[in-house]
């Protein structure tokens, strides 16, 4: 037999099932890669949040305490001042105990992040 007896184009075609199998495998792999990319994005965001939170906590802890200034002498009480023009009261910020939480017992910060995949939940715990 010679190959010229029939065209090489008459060689058997792959069955339809083969095309379907390839399509299914490719689409499955693409969806899997998308899920992985999405989860990685979430992890990156969570990591960035965690880094910022830790950096914030550390910055607060290392803030030096201001020493209390001893009162040496009581200043003389000035005479009643002349009446001054009444001005609208300025908004005063409420005194906040700036470093109070630095001495509070360390609390665990837990961040739960949902991903597109219901089976994947990212949990960050920061001491």
């Amino acid at each position: 037999m010679m190959p010229d007896d029939f065209s090489l184009r008459d060689l058997a075609e792959p069955p339809e099932a083969a095309y379907e199998a390839v399509r299914g495998r490719v689409m499955g792999e693409i969806r899997r890669q998308k899920r992985v990319r999405s989860a990685l994005r979430m992890v990156a965001v969570a990591a960035a949040c965690a880094v910022l939170a830790v950096a914030g906590l550390l910055a607060v802890r290392h803030e030096p305490h201001m020493p209390a200034v001893p009162m040496l002498a009581r200043a003389p009480v000035p005479p009643d001042p002349a009446p001054v023009e009444h001005r609208a009261p300025r908004s005063r910020r409420r005194a906040m105990p700036m470093f109070a939480h630095a001495h509070a017992p360390a609390q665990e910060l837990v961040v739960r992040m949902q991903t597109d995949d219901p089976n994947v939940v990212i949990i960050w715990m920061v001491d």
Partner: protein, 179 residues
Amino acid sequence: MEPSADVLARARGGDEAAFEELMRMHERQVLRTALRLLGRREDAEDAAQEVFLRLYKNLRGFRALAEIRPWLYRVTVNFSYDLGRKRRRFVAELPDEVAVVQTQESGVSLEQRRELLAEALAYLPEKERAAVVLREVEGLETAEVAEILGSTPVTVRTQVSTGRARLREIVARLERRKV
């Protein structure tokens, strides 16, 4: 406007259905070429899967639908070379003529001839096989084949001619083994 005219744009935008449509448009050329080059359906499916995943990753590089076809041929041929070498399926040794398998019939049927020819392709050197498959099986022009294989039309003509002659010899030898 053809319904598939904007399929590339939609696929590039992340539309999975559009990418699946793109695959349907090109799956025959990819799987058939891989099957002729590799000889085994399992290998051809693996190659086609990898080729389409590479297409998905490189979608942004295409501006027109017409650019995809030659690119797919090139990637299919190159990946089939790699896979064939990895799985040691390229350039099989010709069967020993003494190992004769007797058949009930005196001749070979058309179906057997097809099988013999498909088998014979596996004995061609990989470059000749690629040239023969693209030119003779896929029916591409010599210039197209040359571009896909990174070769010249003259070289392709020589490879096809040599490949066909070699195929005749191999098929005759395989036929003697069968009859």
